[in-house]
Amino acid sequence: MQDHPHPSEIIAAVARFLKDEVASQTTGRLSFQARVAANALEMMTRQLDTQPAAEAAELTSLKAMLSMDGDLATLNAELARRLGAGEIDLTVPGVADHLWATTLAKLAVDQPTYWGYRAALNERSDKQEP
């Protein structure tokens, strides 16, 4: 068992350092780059915190939808192949829900402030209202 603090806690601390100490006390390109670096580290904390649960759910969903076994990379490649070949499409039950769930999980890590993601969240929650 590795010791604490957890990687995501340490990475978050480095991100705060870059933002509060480096970016705020420099100017121009260096300040900009420090902010970009801090944002990248914050992305990594979100990934470390959510990836295990999100990918376990994705794998379960893929196995059920494709009726086959395999790891995440293999099953995703197979889903991509079937969609590209037109062997399955959005009319097949579960396909649209799977694509929505996995894409929203990506955005929650990559770009949680992206306006298109915020709009999608609103639209999805409106749909699930009775």
Partner: protein, 325 residues
């Protein structure tokens, strides 16, 4: 910078009708192109100019048309009535500045978010979509035969080119496959008369002032293809900067863009064809973002590239909202 300043001093004396230069500033650090701003000092005053160049040793990107043809195209666009900077000099080997050209400096804003949301541009936004339509109509009047080296692409070839680029990344993105299937099932026939298209006409590549459109920039992806491609690309989600109700670059309505295009002599707009190119626009930008991973891992492992690669998922959510709402 000293080397560039020295060469530009000589250029000012020999080619630009001045005595020397001042105020040399580098504006961007593009991967394949550099943009510099400087003033030429002459007896009758100072003139601000822009140098766009691919310095020696830096490879011009494979998809780009090359600075000499870019300069010729900007001159042809000017003659056709497109608002563009005036090309003052195309670099030769003797100039010692690499490949590129010098053009007039047009005042205005290029940052998409400011154009879409800034108070300064409130009036500009009421006329900009129509002006963009007119600028595209003029662009599509440029004679493609004058530019025989530009790529000729049918809609199917263009989609296939990006499908190949996506497959080459060897990273499964089921939403991309869904979108490619959608596009291939609806791929329009080659246009009756292919036109010279700008190829990257979007909010971010136009210079805008308080009065509206001042110049169309960044001609390096020009090719000969379906003119509706340009009208769809500027409407892709990726250039709306959060202003979803204004599909044209976050500042205007499709109807105003199309009306401006038709009024300025463009062919009648086919809405289905424009929508096809709009969906392709999101996918094309997605493939471009995901390509950042390749250069990150192979040649240029900087944080900025990694972060742009991680913006690919923005286009995946955009595509789902278009195709699976």
């Amino acid at each position: 910078m000293d080397e560039v300043a020295e060469s530009l001093d000589a250029l000012a004396r020999h080619r630009l009708g001045g005595t020397k230069i001042s105020g040399l500033t580098r504006l961007t650090a593009g991967a394949s192109q550099e943009i510099w701003r400087f003033n030429v000092i002459a007896n009758d005053g100072e003139t601000p100019l822009i140098l766009r160049r691919a310095p020696g040793g830096i490879r011009v990107s494979e998809t780009a048309i090359g600075p000499e043809i870019e300069a010729a195209l900007i001159q042809a666009a000017h003659a056709a009535g497109v608002p563009v900077p005036i090309v003052r000099w195309v670099l030769t080997e003797e100039d010692g500045l690499g490949r590129g050209y010098v053009m007039s400096c047009v005042d205005g804003e290029t940052l998409g978010g400011r154009i879409a949301r800034g108070e300064t541009f409130a009036h500009a936004r009421t006329v900009l979509a129509g002006q963009c339509g007119a600028a595209l109509a003029a662009t599509h009047r440029i004679d493609p035969d004058a530019f025989p080296t530009l790529k000729r692409l049918t809609p199917l070839e263009f989609v296939t080119q990006y499908l190949d680029a996506y497959r080459a990344t060897e990273w499964p993105r089921p939403v991309f496959d869904l979108a490619f299937r959608w596009l291939l099932d609806r791929c329009p026939a080659p246009p009756e008369s292919p036109r010279l298209v700008h190829g990257d006409f979007r909010n971010g590549n136009i210079m805008v002032g308080e009065d509206g459109l001042r110049a169309v920039l960044d001609w390096e992806l020009a090719h000969v293809a379906d003119p509706m491609e340009d009208l769809g690309w500027i409407c892709a989600n990726s250039w709306r900067f959060g202003v979803e109700a204004k599909p044209v670059g976050g500042f205007g309505l499709r109807e105003d863009l199309w009306a401006g295009y038709e009024a300025a002599g463009g062919v009648k707009v086919d809405p289905d064809r424009a929508l096809f190119w709009e969906v392709f626009g999101s996918l094309r930008w997605g493939v471009m973002c995901s390509g950042m991973f390749t250069s990150f891992r192979t040649t240029d492992p900087v944080v900025e590239r990694a972060v742009i690669a991680r913006r690919t998922s923005e286009t995946e959510i955009d595509l789902l909202r278009l195709l699976a709402a």
